[in-house]
Amino acid sequence: METYTLIVLTLAATIRVATPLLLAALAGMFSERSGVIDLGLEGKMLGAAFAAAAVSAVTGSAWLGLAAGVGTALLLGLLLGFACITHRGNQVVAAMAINIMVAGLGPTLALAWFNLGGQTPQLDGPGQRFAGLVWPWAQQAREAPVPGLLYAELLSGHNLIVYVALALVPLSAWVLYRTRFGLRLRAVGENPLAVDTAGISVNGLRYQAVLISGLLCGVAGTYLSTAASAGFVRDMTAGKGYLALAALIFGKWKPWPTLGACLLFAFTDALATRLQGVELPLVGVVPVQFILALPYALTVLLLAGFVGKAVAPKAIGVPYSKDK
């Protein structure tokens, strides 16, 4: 029973931790499928996290915060597009520049506006955050532990963005494989010349892609500052953007496998949390640093063991021009 509860709670934690990774990874998927490397996930998320928390703090509405977060990430996406698509700048440099700029800009603005040392006020008021949605009879369901706990903890109780993120997986798959836009998107990341000669604007498609990426990063950042925690803190993305990128590659740029990769990362993370300080059979208590390294080591092992080659969209990272 004890173990069962622990498993359910670990799985619930997995879903929560996976949410921002998943949103960012799907964001990256759209961008990279169009041929634009998205190392800027981190910066876009961070910018959105700041904007969402700031606006929510001022207006008292998490929804306005979401709008601000998404708007900010879209603007950053546009900037990336302007640099890399219109002016064919180096995608990696542009993304790094944005990451660095946002890392400084967030705390600067926060300091100027709130004078709380680069943080936003805590979001405590009603409606300032995305709270958990408790499904009908979730409380009562706990009484029947086996299916009930599963229902109450794993299915119910997450905030809206978590459900949205999960729903985005089938939606992304549908868009990618069943729509005109998806077809063109997949094509432009493989062979932009083919797309160009088919009479479609390569740049137009890539802009749409980086904007979608901005949109999703905006939601991811909003989740961090107004759902998972309650306010903006300097560098609060803490490398999640890079981890999302890894999940995306791990998932071979496909929606469902990417979900799998995010869940795997999140699960090992949740598991590692529970293994800290626990006496393990044979090895005893493992130093905490090695437990903390477990998710990363596991990823490498999986990658080496069974995942096999990840083939990137062929045209990725190459600014489009008509010359060979």
Binding site: T10, G117, G231, V233, A238, G239, A270, R274
Partner: protein, 308 residues
């Protein structure tokens, strides 16, 4: 020295002066000094290791009379610069440098942690409490050890869950991870969680609030963050240390050597104010008061974590 050529300065560590933690506490002490005396001070926030020494040299060159260096990572820089500028007074917080112009101020964090551990054990209904640290380094182990001893002093059977956040500097600024760590401890039955994790702790405290459980703040008095949910805070009066260093330097009473501030010296304490008044019942308060007196008198010995 006349007030005119008295020039105090302060160098913060990585966290920066707004870390809602000990750098901020230091900054508050300096600001209070400025307010009280009208004497301005210079300050500098570090962004990389090499800047520590550079900043101190510059401050010394520009005529700083006393320089407060906040944080244990500054020790080696203080050591070098103090040798270079024997006329400048250095006050180093959280570490020891043995030089004629260096004053080393250390705190017995274990003592306040002990009291917080007691408080946690006294309010816990489940007999399980948590600790979330930023990184597994000696200072954090010091907090953890004192806390655990405090818990067990009240109830030796109580369980303490201990989690560290990470191994990179991001570990000090990841509230989402902090929240997850706290939630995992709640999932295992903890109902009070103590953090020593900088900005990560903000997430820890938020998670406690969201779950309707209790948290314990760290370094500065964080009770106000979530009234009714923050049980107490293990405060470390870096502000007092900074204020006193400035004041003493100004008065000419500044002395080199080691200062160790514990409960007795009011360098550390647990906090009690209008925000947590309702949580600390008179019985609990009495137990804490007694323990505090016993620690001061030496009746209770709190182990200090030491690198062997």
């Amino acid at each position: 020295a006349s007030a005119k050529d008295f020039s105090p300065a302060i160098v913060y560590d990585f966290g920066g002066k707004f870390d809602r933690s000990f750098n901020q506490s230091a900054s508050e002490g300096a600001e209070k000094f400025k307010k009280d005396t009208g004497i301005a001070f210079r300050e500098f926030e570090i962004t990389n290791a090499a800047q520590r020494e550079q900043a101190m040299v510059q401050l010394a060159r520009r005529g700083a009379t006393v320089i407060v260096a906040v944080g244990f990572t500054q020790a080696s820089a203080v050591e070098r610069v103090a040798k270079q500028f024997p006329a400048v007074k250095f006050t180093l917080i959280d570490a020891v440098v043995d030089l004629p112009n260096v004053q080393s101020v250390n705190f017995r964090e274990q003592e306040s942690s002990f009291l917080c551990g007691m408080a946690a054990a006294l309010v816990s209904k489940t007999g399980k409490v948590g600790f979330v640290g930023g990184m597994d380094i000696p200072l954090i182990r010091k907090f953890a050890l004192g806390y655990t001893e405090g818990v067990h002093y009240v109830n030796p059977q109580d369980e303490v869950f201990e989690n560290m956040t990470g191994t990179t500097p991001a570990a000090w600024g990841d509230p989402t991870k902090g929240a997850e760590l706290a939630k995992s401890q709640f999932g295992r039955g903890a109902d009070v969680v103590f953090h020593a994790a900088g900005a990560t702790g903000i997430g820890v405290m938020q998670a406690a609030k969201d779950a309707g459980l209790l948290s314990i703040g760290c370094d500065s008095n964080q009770n106000y963050l979530h009234p009714g949910s923050v049980l107490t805070s293990a405060v470390k009066r870096v502000d007092v240390a900074v204020y006193k260093a400035f004041q003493a330097a100004k008065d000419g009473t500044w002395k080199p050597g080691q200062l160790v501030l514990g409960l007795a010296e009011e360098g550390v304490d647990y906090s009690l104010d209008q925000y947590n008044r309702a949580l600390i019942t008179p019985e609990i308060e009495a137990r804490l008061k007694q323990a505090k007196a016993d620690i001061i008198s030496g009746k209770i010995k709190v182990t200090e974590y030491k690198v062997q």
